[in-house]
Symmetry: C2
DNA sequence: CGAATAGTGTCTGTTAGACATTATCGA
DNA sequence: TCGATAATGTCTAACAGACACTATTCG
């Protein structure tokens, strides 16, 4: 299985799908059904198909759909990983995307799908461990100053729920008053008229949703969601 | 020259080298000496060579060195561009890196090398126009909160020089006092003992250099170099 | 009514930016 | 001495975060 001169470069895509499960950030892994690393848990990935895919993003979207049935509302290019050693089949290039989905999209996991907390991952095949670390770092960095974590929420959510999501992602508490001020500044949320979260033994919370124009665009602030001195 | 089924994916790297010339941000372009687009100005780029390159970053570094003789002190992966139409030779994947160098490194341009201001670029072949726009956007975004622009400075520089570089990159004036406070907070600069910029008809400015530990690492602040309300 | 959490008003310490002042060179 | 710019001190307005207070539901 070693590379010989003249072998073509292996061209693949991989997807790091992140979601929140029980307040902890989890990554979607699949049990590999073929070599190399058959039986091991790894990121969903596959070959780019030039006859089928319009670009690498389309390939990533297709691979995710074929292997998990999921269509992610958010898919961003993370980075490209390459080299002779990361895949035992030979010199490879993998364009990696990261996806964010609300946990409600993962109620019925397809067979072979696992959600593992990123805080305590087993050793992963290929360079998938490093890839997941980079994806989590990117999510944390962007969450400091953007609305990215909204994609981890269901369509309708309350501000306390959204704040809990930010806190789970960033791993630190956020000041309630500042958080609400920032969300207000970002201007991407709208209250759903008359809709309140009911059934809890306290004052009901207003339900919000993303304004349509922010459905597929991020909103940024200058100084961070949780600015510190 | 059209793609046929079964053709391998074309795997290349391109480099966006940015520098400051006369206070304006410029990109390095080369006159292409072969088809496609022979004679046109384009980003330095070339095929990944699996037998030679340890990864795509090494390929980018090699391509830049072979085509311009330059070794950039800063080389960061920008993004990967792919699809059937961006290269007339067929379905291609290009891993793009961006480099920052001080203008002093570009005194004697090799033949065929051009430095053009990014503000008024001609139409570029492939998708190189879009690639340059993304590189400039990345530089501007990172300059808001990091020490990235110091790579555009020579080894020894004064704080007013560095501020002028930030202002040229960001395209807006910066408050002098705030700028110096931020540079102090970043803690990445050290005054060169006893070295002052001489020969100007005013009080001489202290010369600074990057602390060794920041030679190849960025320094970040929470709230931005030029935080605004 | 009490427990619990949502949502808001207010105060305070910190920070960024404006402005003024001093310092140090060449001409 | 003057012009020019470096470098720094000080004041103020804006902002983040702490705290307290009110609002509204269920049991």
């Amino acid at each position: 299985m070693r590379r010989r001169e003249g072998d073509p470069i292996i061209c693949t895509v991989d997807v790091v799908l992140l979601t929140l499960r029980d307040d902890s950030l989890c990554v979607l892994l699949l049990k590999r059904d073929r070599e190399p690393f058959a039986g091991a848990l790894a990121l969903p990935g596959g070959y780019v198909r030039p006859d089928e895919d319009q670009d690498a993003a389309a390939a990533a979207s297709r691979v995710l759909r074929e292997k998990t049935g999921l269509v992610s509302p958010y898919l961003e290019q993370l980075a490209t990983f390459s080299g002779p050693a990361r895949d035992p089949r030979g010199w490879s290039v993998s364009v990696v995307y990261f996806a964010l989905v609300p946990s409600s999209m993962l109620q019925a996991d397809p067979p072979g799908v696992e959600l593992l907390p990123v805080a305590r991952l087993p050793r992963l095949p290929f360079d998938h461990g490093e890839i997941v670390r980079e994806a989590v770092a990117r999510l944390r960095a962007k969450s400091q100053y953007s609305s990215l974590p909204v994609y981890l929420c269901p369509e309708r959510f309350t501000l306390p729920q959204l704040q809990a999501v930010y806190e789970a992602v960033l791993g630190e508490p956020i000041n309630k008053v500042s958080f609400r001020r920032k969300m207000d500044e970002l201007g991407m949320l709208e209250p759903i008229p008359g809709e309140l979260e009911v059934g809890r033994a306290h004052r009901p919370a207003q339900l919000y949703r993303l304004r349509p124009e922010y459905r597929h665009a991020l909103s940024m602030v200058d100084r961070g969601i949780n600015a510190r001195g």
